[in-house]
């Protein structure tokens, strides 16, 4: 990475990568008649001497006219057609298994269709091998070295992008980061030789902000499109536009079976190729009656499976961390009983959820325990998971799935601007997906803890795509940056609700990212360079005005990673006590900052950071990733000449400045106490009644607080709050706090009083005495 820093190219975004930089070189060199040996995409051919040293079987290939037989021949050859190196034994071993994949049988069919269409919808069930094989088939047909364009394959998740790239590198017998690479946020492993690039969908979207035509790519494969992440949805709409402009760009949309028709009709009735997966039938069971307590029923079903069903691991889907830990505890207890009382086999119970440390997550791949004694009943493992096991993780050996039919879903309400994370029924599609997990290794069973009637009547067809469930402020900013002018007719597969769009526009307008005509302002352009929510980006950009950009940078980094506080169930009290060491009575933001400073302090003292974090109930993983994010953001700030300054710590205004700076981005997230001594606050302008989340470290909240997020869990809570003075609001965000725009009410009268007070004070002290 160092090399391109030296180059001093104006780095436009933190996710910029080597390949992007290389592209600039390429362009520059193309200017000087582009001698071929400098073309990074052709470089490997010269090195390996495609012209001299070895005869690649690819030489005879004609782009977009290859056949499966030709490709198979090339794959079988002794020398690697891409590098000229001899193939290793492992390559041939893998090749054999690759040839067994269901997708291989249809290679010719795929190529025929691929040649004849610009956009192809590819449907492959899990286990068909589509993610690893299709990009390689494309590679053998696109022959990237001939035109210097790459093939991109997007994945919704970083982990998938990394692991698939590694797998494919092995399959092609090349080194990861050379011919095959990956690019994810904060990490780029591609090189000048890279022909096939796995990347997250967000990464491709960021790249396209600076390359509106995606001109570096000859083929873009959108994998797991059925997951419908926000980035995938926007990419699809963009690609639809680009495809009309660039006839040479090929697009493959890969999805699971269920909504293929929707994809087809969206992409101008694109042809469809379906490949059956290698899955085994799964027998579905419903309960005859609705369950009164799904948790209880789930636990019992697991135990019953353990007692009565033949060998095979169990996967139980629950909604959240607490529930999962609870279920795990109960299952373990009951199993112990069962072993004691009746000759049951041993059973290991593993929880699995997003915030679990990776080491613990890895444990789910451990083998099931063996029988307790020879000839005894077989042991098994049960994995109690959130819906991350539904798609993101594949665990072999699962034969039984227990599905209570719920998951936690994040849903944004544009009216109250609250983001809720609530337990809600899953969709039919996701119920089928869950059931499918049981048929990976052999025929399995899925026990649904609801009636068939409920399945048919109460579940929606498809899970709502992310774009319908999210705050779109960031998306709108990105779209503006991508050059999308007409937001109303932007051809999304599922257009979001108009109110959501309005709210996003409004927020961006108040943040001064959009001017009154809806055009991107300079601030907006700058903010879009940060992979952050607009409010955070604006806060960061304006922090030098408050002499605390270093501190705000830290706070922003800490806010953009998962919570750094660890609060294990068995040590809640101690965890809270530890948190008190860092607590700042005026704000959770400041508490976060204290914790981070302590972390950095301990780091400079050469302490064992993992231990230190463990002792202080902090998450080492999240703190170090915050540290990483901070470094990346800092680099972006430097390239855009945003100065990094601090108020001296001794200054009494040190914390006040930070608190004021928070308002520069979060002036729309302010709440006022409803009445004195009440615990209920009212959000400004939206008049929602909220409480301060009990996790707060603010001991005596002021009448006015700024909050980081407004969540609906069991109640309407505001989380991560900091005390503020209402005078600051009038001073920092005069547009939003224009009294004329307020409706009559407590908040307006309170603000009027304050305005008067400020005026009086100014009159007494004379002008210029305010800070």
């Amino acid at each position: 990475m160092a090399s391109h820093d030296d180059r001093g190219v104006k780095r436009s975004n933190m996710e910029d990568n080597a390949a992007q930089d290389l592209k600039r070189i390429k362009r520059a060199e193309n200017g000087d008649a582009a001698p071929e040996k400098y073309n990074p995409y052709l470089a490997h051919l010269n090195e390996d001497g495609n012209n001299g040293d070895f005869e690649s079987p690819l030489d005879s290939f004609e782009r977009h006219q290859t056949t499966a037989a030709q490709a198979a021949q090339a794959e079988d050859s002794e020398l690697n057609p891409w590098t000229g190196q001899p193939h290793s034994q492992r390559y041939f071993d893998i090749l054999k298994t690759r040839r067994d994949l269901p997708v291989h049988k249809q290679r010719q069919e795929f190529l025929d269709m691929y040649h004849n269409t610009q956009i192809l919808v590819f449907v492959g069930e899990t286990g068909s091998g589509k993610t690893t094989q299709i990009p390689q088939y494309v590679l053998y047909d696109e022959l990237p070295y001939t035109n210097g364009k790459l093939i991109a394959c997007t994945q919704p998740r970083r982990v998938a992008a990394m692991s698939v790239a590694q797998r494919v590198a092995n399959e092609m017998d090349v080194e990861l980061g050379q011919e095959v690479g990956y690019s994810i946020r904060f990490e780029n492993r591609t090189g000048p030789k890279t022909m096939l690039k796995y990347m997250t969908d967000g990464q491709l979207l960021r790249e396209s902000m600076h390359d509106h035509d995606m001109s570096r790519y000859s083929c873009i494969i959108l994998d797991e499109a059925h997951e419908r992440t926000l980035a995938t949805d926007i990419l699809m709409a963009l690609l639809k536009q680009i495809a009309a402009r660039r006839k040479d760009l090929k697009i493959i949309v890969m999805s699971a079976t269920l909504d293929a028709q929707k994809f087809q009709s969206y992409f101008y009735d694109a042809p469809l190729l379906a490949v059956p997966g290698r899955t085994f039938p799964v027998e579905i069971f419903y309960t005859p009656e609705p369950e009164r307590d799904y948790l209880e029923a789930a636990v019992r079903t697991v135990l019953q499976i353990h007692a009565t069903e033949p060998e095979g691991d169990i996967l139980l889907f629950l909604t959240g961390e607490e529930e999962i830990e609870d279920a795990c505890r109960r299952i373990s207890l009951e199993v112990d009983d069962m072993i004691r009382e009746s000759d049951a086999g041993p059973m290991k119970v593993y929880p699995l959820y997003g915030t679990l440390p990776p080491a613990h997550q890895q444990r789910i791949f451990e083998k099931a325990p063996g029988p307790l004694r020879e000839g005894g009943r077989p042991g098994r493992k049960v994995i109690v998971s959130t819906n991350i096991a539904e798609t993101s993780l594949t665990i072999d050996g699962i034969v039984y799935v227990v599905d209570p039919g719920f998951s936690k879903q994040k849903i944004y309400n544009p009216r109250s601007r609250v983001e809720s994370l609530l337990v809600s029924p899953i969709s039919k599609a996701s119920a089928q997906q869950r059931a499918g997990r049981a048929g990976r290794t052999r025929p399995g069973k899925c026990f649904r803890l609801y009636t068939e009637k409920a399945f048919k009547k109460e579940l929606i067809e498809q899970t709502y795509p992310e774009i319908l469930r999210s705050n779109l402020a960031n998306t709108v900013l990105e779209l503006k940056k991508l050059g999308v002018e007409d937001l109303v007719h932007f051809d999304l597969m599922d257009p979001p609700a108009p109110e959501t769009m309005m709210r996003a526009l409004e927020e961006l307008n108040y943040l001064a990212c959009l001017d009154d005509d809806g055009e991107l302002t300079r601030l907006g352009g700058l903010a879009s360079e940060f992979p952050l929510d607009p409010a955070l980006a604006v806060m960061l950009i304006s922090s030098p005005e408050f002499y605390c950009s270093n501190e705000i940078l830290s706070i922003v980094s800490l806010l953009s990673v998962p919570s750094i506080w660890v609060r294990p169930n068995n040590a809640r009290k101690r965890a809270d006590e530890m948190k008190m060491h860092f607590a700042h009575s005026d704000g959770d933001h400041l508490t976060l900052l204290n914790a981070y400073h302590a972390y950095k302090g301990a780091e400079t003292n050469n302490e064992d950071m993992k231990r230190w974090c463990h002792e202080h109930f902090l998450s080492y993983r999240h703190l170090s990733s915050a540290d990483n994010v901070r470094a990346q953001l800092k680099r972006i700030m430097e390239t855009h000449d945003i100065s990094l300054v601090s108020t001296p710590f001794q200054d009494k205004n040190y914390y006040i400045n930070i608190r004021r700076a928070l308002l520069a981005g979060f002036f729309m997230q302010v709440a006022m106490r409803e009445s004195s001594n009440s615990k209920v606050y009212k959000t400004v302008k939206d008049d929602q009644l909220v409480m301060i989340h009990p996790s707060t470290s603010v001991t005596s909240p002021y009448d006015w607080v700024v909050y980081n997020e407004f969540v609906l869990t069991t109640k309407q809570y505001v989380r991560t709050v900091t005390n503020i003075r209402p005078e600051w609001l009038l001073e920092i965000a005069p547009v939003y706090y224009d009294l004329d725009t307020f409706e009559k009410g407590e908040i307006k009268s309170a603000l009027t009083r304050i305005t008067d007070k400020v005026k009086r004070r100014q009159a007494i002290k004379g002008s210029g005495s305010t800070r």
């Binding site: 009709s265 009164r292 209880e296 029924p425 108009p498």
Partner: protein
Amino acid sequence: MGLAAAKNKRKLGTDPNNTKWSRNETTFGQKILRAQGWQPGDFLGAKDAAHAVHHTEASSTHIKVTLKDDNLGLGAKRNNGDECTGLFDFQHLLGRLNGKAEDVLEAEKQKREDHLRNHYLEQKLGTIRFVRGGWLVGDVVKENVTEKNGVPQSDSANQQPSEDTNSAEPTENKSKKRKADSDDEDEKEEKKDKKSKKRKTDTEAETDSESSRLKKKEKKDKKEKKDKKEKEKKEKKEKKKKSKKSSSDSDDEDDVELSTTETKKSKKDKKREKKEKQENKKEKKEKKRKEKESSDSATDSEDSKSKDKKRRKDDTETAKSSGTSTTITSSTRFLARSRFIAQKKMAFADSAALNQIFMIKS
């Protein structure tokens, strides 16, 4: 909602949906959207898009959420204690008023009483298990040979061919599963007696008995259906049956196991039972066969319909409260309740009381 329902106090603002904002047509967002040709009521997205048929409600307005703060399963309704008891008698009464034939009513009543009696017996004394002793063919008792050919045939109704996953089967299998479930349940109930008191609503005893009956009948019914199918698919499934059988057998086995732990028999007993497991299996098969035989004559389609209705009615209760084997302990609990039911019954029998109930002036 009754007075006994859990209090759920929640403070709401004057405008929790923020209609003030959504009605405001001068907001910046509306202005921009309108400038780009949007009209209130329109979807966003391309005009006349081919994929518009796939758009959902969520494209017009934000997704509504409901706060779920309990563990109620999907499709289950909260019982607020306002469920009716004594509906059988009421149904009877209504049937009479509607001029149903007397014999039909009588048959219904008969059925119900049979069921109640059976259930009572089961509750009070538990069932007695028999050990299989082979088949009497002519004068000779044949052992397993015949069993393998004969009994599984009838039993095969329980086996599930995995090819057809239509509605009949899964539920069928589940009913078995539920049996085990409920066993588990009782176990838990014993433990958490106090906790669960809340849940013990009035209808319990009744539904208790009902559900177990339903279970049985369901089975029978399904078996019948099964048998028909079976004939068609017999050959195909031959192989599967064998493998499946073993699993379903073990299912039954579990029933035994669980119930033993529950009733806290001495360990000795348990051991013996384990030895007997093998025999139990056989015996169960036989039982099923017998059931089936009797049901063949008794059940008809109408019957199943009415069952369906009933099932729906006690949708919420049965899952929790059906008990098949751990019943001795629970009987005392319902003393007060049975008295209550008796009173109700008396009221139905008494025309003066009925007139009062229906506010008929005589």
